[in-house]
Symmetry: C2
Subunit: 383 residues, 2 copies
């Protein structure tokens, strides 16, 4: 028998059978009436999930394509862009602004720590000519959720727009773009939205459209004006990933049936159980609990245990795939995702396998102690 794979990486995440079934539907014309109806329905459902009344565009690309759309449509060479960097994906957004010739003001924070809103305020006060602030909702590389609401209160009274990379968070981490003042929100299909990779979603505020209208940077495939023009007819500017659209509607239905608040509560519960479990095993978290991600947990590898050995053993012997650390965290942390199509027994399995593997690698662990800690959280009820 093939290894039964348990995918515990922060994307791609496991795909529910309803989504796989929808994706197996026969192909249809992307300019057909039926597909326009699907696009209209899907857009409405995504607006609910993204908690915005702004238009939501579906781009056929990975999340990074959506981030490039955010930058290519708003940043001119020489524009002053404030990039908030506290991990690998903050760096990516910053790098995109540099590629488009921005004068980037980089505000860095230690990897594993949250963005300091007061420090952002200082920069915005000092530079009234900043046009774009680039932020990350859920920094996957560090398992930290940043204070987007706090950032929105700053940009609301400033000329700058707030563009947020919510690729790995949205659908599992609360974000209220309209209420909090997020102007551009980017996410992708393969994380908490439970669909295979290949679609990026982007919502755009009126304030952002003003900037877009003045932006001269080259863009074609990722042109938001082209996307807007087409969406007026419930169409896409270029051939969409039809099967992924089918899958995304099935996933959106699952999320809306469960209820957005319940989905968020489930993620918070799984995250808390995971944290209590690893702490019960004597392990340390990378990030402070008050800003810990509900969709992924970053754990410092204990003294004497090499992350690569741990991950290899988990995969080879138990079919469990954890993520390692990225960039400067490589070799220092491992990450356990509890994102999207994930439930309590997925966490239990992940922790039980961790106990076994640590034990086999010579790290003293009381078998079942992490599992029991997670169980206690579950019996204690929702977060």
């Amino acid at each position: 028998m093939d290894k039964k794979l348990r995918l515990l990486i922060p994307g791609p995440t496991p795909v529910p059978p309803q989504v796989s079934e929808a994706m197996a539907r026969p192909m249809v014309g992307h300019r057909s009436k039926g597909f326009a109806e699907l696009t209209a329905r899907l857009t409405g459902k995504l607006q609910q999930i993204m908690q915005t009344t702004n238009p939501v565009f579906i781009l056929t690309s990975s999340g990074t394509g959506g981030l490039e759309a955010a930058v290519a449509n708003t940043v001119n060479p020489g524009d002053k862009v404030l990039a908030l960097v506290a991990g690998k994906f903050g760096e990516r957004f910053r790098d995109l602004a540099r590629v488009y010739g921005a004068e980037v003001i980089e505000l860095s924070f230690p990897w594993g720590q949250p963005v300091d809103v007061a420090a952002v305020k200082e920069q915005l006060d000092a530079h009234p000519d900043i046009t774009v602030v680039l932020a990350t909702l859920n920094e996957t590389s560090t398992a930290v959720v940043h204070d987007i609401r706090g950032l929105g209160t700053l940009t609301r009274d400033h000329g700058a727009i707030l563009a947020v990379d919510a690729v790995s968070g949205l659908g599992g981490v609360e974000i209220r773009p309209d209420e909090w003042g997020v102007d551009i929100l980017v996410t992708a299909s393969q994380k908490a939205l439970m669909v295979p990779p290949g679609l990026a979603l982007i919502s755009v505020s009126d304030k952002a459209w003003e900037l877009i209208a003045k932006c001269k940077s080259p863009r074609y495939y990722f042109s938001l004006e082209a996307a807007r023009k087409s969406l007026a007819k419930w169409n896409t500017a270029y051939t969409p990933g039809v099967s992924l659209f089918f899958g995304l509607e099935a996933a959106a239905d699952l999320i809306l049936e469960e209820g957005l608040e319940n989905v968020f509560a489930r993620h918070r519960l799984l995250a808390r159980a995971t944290r209590e479990a690893v702490k019960a095993l004597g392990l340390k978290l990378l990030m402070p609990e008050e800003c810990a991600s509900p969709v992924v947990t970053a754990v410092l590898s204990p003294e004497g245990v090499a992350v690569d050995d741990l991950r290899k053993l988990l995969l080879d012997k138990y079919g469990v795939l954890y993520a390692g650390g990225q960039a400067e965290l490589k070799g220092r942390v491992f990450r356990i995702a509890h994102m999207g199509y994930a439930d309590r027994l997925d966490v239990i399995s992940a922790i039980a396998a961790l106990e076994l593997a640590l034990s086999e690698l010579g790290y003293a662990v009381e078998l079942g102690k992490g599992v029991a800690a997670a169980q206690k959280v579950f019996l204690g009820g929702a977060n």
Copy 2:
């Protein structure tokens, strides 16, 4: 019962069950050993199908994203680009060059006619500083195949690279980039390759890399240098469309099992049968037969028959979806695709439905005459 849809548009095309099955596989990590092995195998198979020893990069986007990659990586503002335009997709490639600030020399040909290689030679002789020539293999909007081999003989002795949009042709229309001197070749998953939309493929010659190294235009998601760096480790720069990769390997296997020459011969046969059938019904082709596409046929709508009425009747009553005309051909032609997962009885069905619909719309047609003409081609054997 739901209408049984017969998809006869030039993309997305019908998906074979083997491809749908492959796409329903559970998600895997895109940085896993297994996925790297898939990428390595798939790259080799795509090189066979694309008939090139150049690297082939798989971008998660529609074909237009691949075209943008071709331009964004080679065209600087002010560069002299020769755009060959004889239909909607020629226009798109030209527009992309303009978006990236090129000084575009546009050489236009009537829609429905092939590019005149002698006229291209004149331009190349007159402008030794042209850096990029943009051409279309199979202009879907007009069902014309252009003489890429002829263009390659010109650019081989010129400083310019030859970039070819083979989105709608490749896998059904012969193209030999290495032999013919094509430097950048772009295609996409949802045409003759029989996979849902969402992947663009792009191959790059040594001559093109020299230009890419000197290109300063902004690009990140579509950066070919980033793609090359990642492919060296059988990886992709950004999260790939995992399920589409699964499907693309299944489709590549089908093509290679049938044999590339047999696949081309099948397309030529279906195209000839379609042309003979429509001519037997007294209809006229848009394009001359000597440059007629093997994957799509464009037919002038007969006097007194509105294209929209014909298409609506075909779809509503018979579940048959033909394509209409695009841009200046809107209302003047309809197009029948025989591309990818298509066989002789698909052509017969398409023609039989056409006979019925034309008859119902008051156009005098001898029922069965088009079908018989197609059958005669089939009995006559391969092209």
